[in-house]
Amino acid sequence: MYQSKWRIFTNHTILVLGSLFMILPVWIAFASSTHTREYIFQNGLQFWPGGEFFTNYGAILFDAEATKGRVTALEMLFNSMVLGLGFAIGKVIISMMAAYAIVYFRFKLAVPLFWIIFSTLLLPLEVRIVPSYEVVANLGLLNSYTGLILPLIASATGTFFFRQFYRSVPDELLEAARLDGAGPLRFFIDILVPLSVTMIAAIFIIMFVVGWNQYLWPLLMTTDDQLYTIVIGIKQVYNSLYEGGQIPQFPKAFALTIMASVPPVLVVVIFQRMFIKGLVETEK
């Protein structure tokens, strides 16, 4: 398509402005996290980085005192990582298997069961959070990784996506595999899972970010500081900003925020490559 110079110019202007609009707040938070608290308190938010990067980030990562709790940012990052990975991997596995059952085993209740699963898409976690808490508490899973991850692992969205994908896989592939002596499990592991790599990557990305950003659920499930995720940590740090008559810890709060956003960004950047590579290479 022919594009005039004027048109290219306006297109790029819009894109550049849009990008700046998205990036500037993050940049300001980063720049402000590299000054001393006194400097920020006196001069407000900063646009250019200062010289306290290592001091501030070192303190927040390794010194529990800096986060106003009994847990360091490193530990919180670890907790978030466990939650994000467990959440994403669990969801991918569970929804793949559920979709496999629904699509390939034509048992009587497959269709109604699918619609029941699908309709739970309409119900957000918040709706069932009280009964879910009750169940987890009765199982004695409060303040544990299992309690944090397990109740969230079923996924209507994931099941739906995998179902749609499996339905697009040609039947002949299943028939060829049957003739080749592959049972249901073999077919799933040898044929379906490798074919789903792109779908797995896509759902993994989405679910990791969702899991990482969980706030309400970990807040309810964990009363022990040792299990705090970084999202809760941010909240806690901001809460305690004005306590004790000291100068507020703005730079450290900003540092924690920046650290909280780095892992999801990395996951997206890394897996997106695989995702696109898969999209280009896969062919039916």
């Binding site: 002949e172 592939l173 028939e175 060829a176 003739l179 074919l195 896969t282």
Partner: protein, 356 residues
């Protein structure tokens, strides 16, 4: 080497649709049987019943005298080639061929020998490390055949394997399949809707229509003595001409169009209304006026090697195809003088369509 026997094999779908109405058939050792028919005639269903991919509602299917009605597809010792190849896209061609052997617990060394042998036969040695998508359609179909032959099954099943290929490649692959089948001597069942494929490949042809085997016989038999009007119309291209006719009282002639009398080679009940079938290639043109038929040319199609003329025989017979070798120039409306040898005239019952 194996035989396949169908004994009143039937298929009824849960919604009550009867796809196969009871078929009896015995396929001999090493025989190449072709199932041919229009879409929806049940030919693929029948093949899939033999493969075990469709259940059998009634009757029996046996391979080597062993009833396989409830035997799983993998345990029937058959191999199938699909229309869309159905290769595993994420495996390279070597693994595609090896997969069935792996699942059957062959050792690595055995698998390697068998796969390389199959690749040699199919001239795929240079492509083993590649993925299916890096191959052309013909090569993919060869990999699919390789996957079938590595196992040295008792029976080969082909489900329209050439339909996705372009015309030239189809002819090459047709020869290759025939060649391979004769060399390996494996009993084969081949489904196609292409009558040229059917005629050239088959040792025995099964023409199917509406879930019934209309005729089972050698390709030449089917061509020369079609058992029904359906078979006669389906086999042969351009299709056979069908004309309304009436048998004369002397039982030796049939009248078509505007009083054209054609001689018969066998006696038929006098006065009977029949359908007369004449193949376009069996109409002979006479320059000396000795033919019994006079017909006007309506249209001409020149194909180079042959010429097709559409003729008007008069009432109820105004679109008769004539096929002549070589090129001919006809003016529209030009009168041609024609005849048909008595043994090339086919008569069919008007009601049942059965051969008389």
């Amino acid at each position: 080497m194996a035989t396949v026997t169908l004994n009143q094999a039937q298929k009824t779908y849960p919604n009550g649709f009867k796809a196969i109405h009871g078929i009896d058939l015995k396929i001999e050792h090493g025989e190449f049987t072709v199932l041919v028919g229009p879409s929806g005639c049940g030919k693929s269903t029948l093949l899939r019943m033999i493969a075990g991919l469709e259940g059998i509602s009634d009757g029996e299917i046996s391979i080597d005298d062993k009833v396989v009605n409830t035997v799983a597809p993998a345990d029937r010792d058959i191999a199938m080639v699909f229309q869309n190849y159905a290769l595993y896209p994420h495996m390279n061609n070597y693994d595609n061929m090896a997969y069935g052997l792996k699942n059957r617990g062959y050792s690595k060394a055995e698998i390697d020998t068998k796969v390389r042998e199959a690749a040699r036969i199919l001239q795929l040695e240079d492509h083993l490390e590649r993925k299916p998508r890096q191959l052309s359609g013909g090569q993919r179909q060869r990999v699919a055949m390789g996957r079938a032959i590595v196992r040295q099954p008792k029976v080969f099943l082909f489900d329209e394997p050439l339909s996705n290929l372009d015309a030239k490649l189809r002819v090459d692959m047709r020869l290759e399949i025939k060649n391979l089948q004769q060399r390996l001597g494996i009993t084969s069942v081949y489904v196609t809707h292409d009558q040229v494929e059917a005629m050239t490949l088959a040792d025995r042809l099964i023409v199917m229509n509406g879930g019934v085997a209309e005729q089972i016989g050698s390709p030449i038999d089917v061509y020369e003595k079609p058992a029904s009007q359906f078979v006669a119309g389906f086999i042969g291209s351009p299709a056979m001409n069908f004309l309304k006719g009436k048998v004369s009282d002397d039982k030796k002639h049939v009248t078509v169009g505007d009083g054209v009398e054609l001689e018969l080679d066998h006696d038929v009940e006098g006065g009977r209304e029949v359908t007369v079938g004449i193949r376009p290639e069996h109409l002979q043109m006479h320059n000396d006026g000795n033919g019994r038929i006079d017909a006007g040319v309506r249209m001409v199609e020149s194909l180079g090697a042959e010429t097709l003329a559409y003729l008007d025989f008069g009432a109820n017979a105004d679109n008769v195809t004539l096929r002549l070798q070589g090129t001919h120039q006809f003016a529209q409306g030009e009168k041609l003088n024609l005849s048909v040898p008595a043994d090339k005239i086919h008569l069919f019952d008007i009601e049942t369509g059965k051969r008389i």
